[in-house]
Amino acid sequence: MSATEPVVDVVAVLDRAPAAEGRLRDALALLRANKVALLGLFLTAIFVLTGLAGAVILLTPGLHHLWEAQDLAIALQPPSGDHLLGTDQYGRDLLWRGIGGVGIAFLIGVGVTFLVLLIGLTLGSIAGYFGRKTDMAITGLIDLAWGFPLLLVAVVIAGMIGKGLKDVIIAVSVILWAGFARIVRAQVKTLAEREFVEAARMLGVPEWRILLRHMVPNVMGSVLVMASYYVAYTVITEAGFSFINLGAQPPTPSLGAMVAEGRNYWSVSVWPAIVPGTAIALIVLGLNSLGDGLRDIFDPRLRRW
């Protein structure tokens, strides 16, 4: 009997992803029992749908009149049948402008988070898995980026390239990837010493395959949790920046800029400030609650609280 002929294809067995459907079913059951997470999921679902609608009306020139059309005769009106959330100082419809603003928040929040997630996941898992000099170099970069307040970086970048949404996007990306990378690196580092990785390595599974099929799926839970917090963080940062007039420039319907303009008309009508402000608060509340819920599901040690 030749020793080189395995009875079972061990590599194939080891290489098969863990029972994904089972885990998903468990997660869904836990989600259903968690009221905070359900509320978060509900609000986030509304955010995503409104955001998609907003993206459509922002990116389709033929629909711009919805949020751009001015009519001074109906300026600063309270909610009515024609304008469900009232109008702003130029008589623009606040509901449509709000949807446009959520669209901006959605595009930037999700787009930037996806980008930093990719960078953070890649660098973090490489640093954690390979260790030594690669790890030192990447950890140095992480510490460098993570030490700075995001707003400071954003202000300096606004000084470099001028005001606009671009400076917010760059600043958030420059800082937040490090947050992902830190978490992923720490987790991969512990995982890399587990028996199943050693076994896979001994069986000759290539390194990149171990990384992709055994490391990455195992850290996806924390990555999802972080992602929902980071989308919220990006949305707040963009709004805050647009509020102090360093972010989106008019007539782009950024929620932060809308609050800033609307507060000037507070004595006449509170709606121009309240509508976008409440929208941001609900988006952030939803994403944070979803993040908390996901963390309870993916990190059972914390579930008791």
């Binding site: 202000v155 509020f243 952030v284």
Partner: protein
């Protein structure tokens, strides 16, 4: 411990140097320059060149960088390119205001977060705890600038208890400090609550209960001290976050501190002022991170021993 501090300090200095290069070159590649703010549009090129020479903007970039660093290190970063005021005077003036605001904000963060978090854990799932959790959700959900708008409308415009904006004494600092503190307060309160809960579930607490130690003593003496460790560890993040928010809060309240000046300088392309202020902010952040790390070492013997072994 000493070795750790020296290594950490060297790292902080390297970080500052890298940041200074990034800030300096970053602001120079910006389109448009300060001469357009000083010389009127009808000014000739000769005049523009003249102004550039006076300000030292005609020298090669690398030379300008070393002059900048030399000036900062020797404590004379020059004058604002726009207003002509000495930068050191500006920093002294604005610095005190920001220091007042920042310290007030941080006091609010910890004076509220620690006791509220601790008591919420003690009265877990009781109305008090639910109130605290609701406050935390609110604090993290409402963006600080929107909170500022709401508070100004309520306390300054409607009730007329406090001024709308501007620098000044306690009354002028109260609203900005509350807005500044809110989010970090919520985060730290939640952390304090969950870390107290974790401590209360540990074996040593059960032993103390079995020994008949009064509940008050267990909570305030034993659980409290250990529960504080994560909160102190987070201070390295909390301080920079609070400091970063001064940029937005000072602009909203027209509170003329460092953050307000930095945003102004950036908008007006006043490099000399902007780069000095940005570097100052960075230095404060790097230094407070260093302090938080050192404090963390001091109060957590587990880390202290690990550092000694290394």
């Amino acid at each position: 411990m000493l070795r750790f501090l020296v290594r950490r300090l060297a790292y902080a200095i390297v970080l500052l140097l890298i940041a200074s290069v990034a800030i300096f070159y970053g602001l120079r590649v910006a389109p448009g320059d300060v001469t357009s703010a000083i010389v009127s549009v009808t000014g000739t090129q000769v005049l523009i060149d003249d102004v550039k020479e006076q300000l030292g903007l005609d020298k090669p970039l690398a030379t300008q960088y070393f002059i900048f660093i030399k000036n900062v290190v020797t404590g004379d970063p020059g004058s604002s390119l726009v207003s002509g005021a000495k930068i050191t005077d500006l920093i002294g003036d604005a610095g005190i205001k920001t220091l007042k605001l920042g310290v007030f904000g941080l006091i609010l963060v910890y004076a509220l977060a620690i006791p509220l978090g601790l008591m919420a854990a003690w009265w877990r799932n009781k109305p008090f705890d639910q109130g605290v959790r609701f406050l935390a959700v609110l604090g993290m959900g409402i963006p600080n600038f929107f909170l500022a708008v709401l508070l100004i409308q309520l306390f300054a415009v409607k009730l007329k208890w406090l001024p709308v904006a501007g620098p000044g004494g306690f009354k002028h600092t109260l609203l900005p400090a509350v807005v500044l503190a809110m989010e970090s307060m919520a985060v730290n309160m939640r952390l304090m609550r969950s870390s107290t809960l974790e401590e209360l579930s540990k074996d040593y607490i059960r032993t103390q209960r079995a020994k008949g130690l009064p509940g008050r003593r267990i909570l305030f003496v034993h659980a409290f001290r250990n529960a504080l460790v994560p909160v102190v560890a987070l201070a390295g993040v909390t301080i920079p976050v609070v400091l970063g928010y001064t940029l937005i809060v000072e602009v909203i309240f027209r509170y003329e501190g460092l953050g307000f000046q930095l945003v102004q300088a950036i908008t007006k392309r006043d490099y000399a002022l902007a780069q000095t202020l940005a570097l100052l902010f960075t230095a404060i952040v790097v230094f407070s991170n260093f302090l938080a790390d050192a404090a963390h070492q001091l109060i957590d013997p587990r880390i202290r021993d690990r550092a000694r072994a290394a």
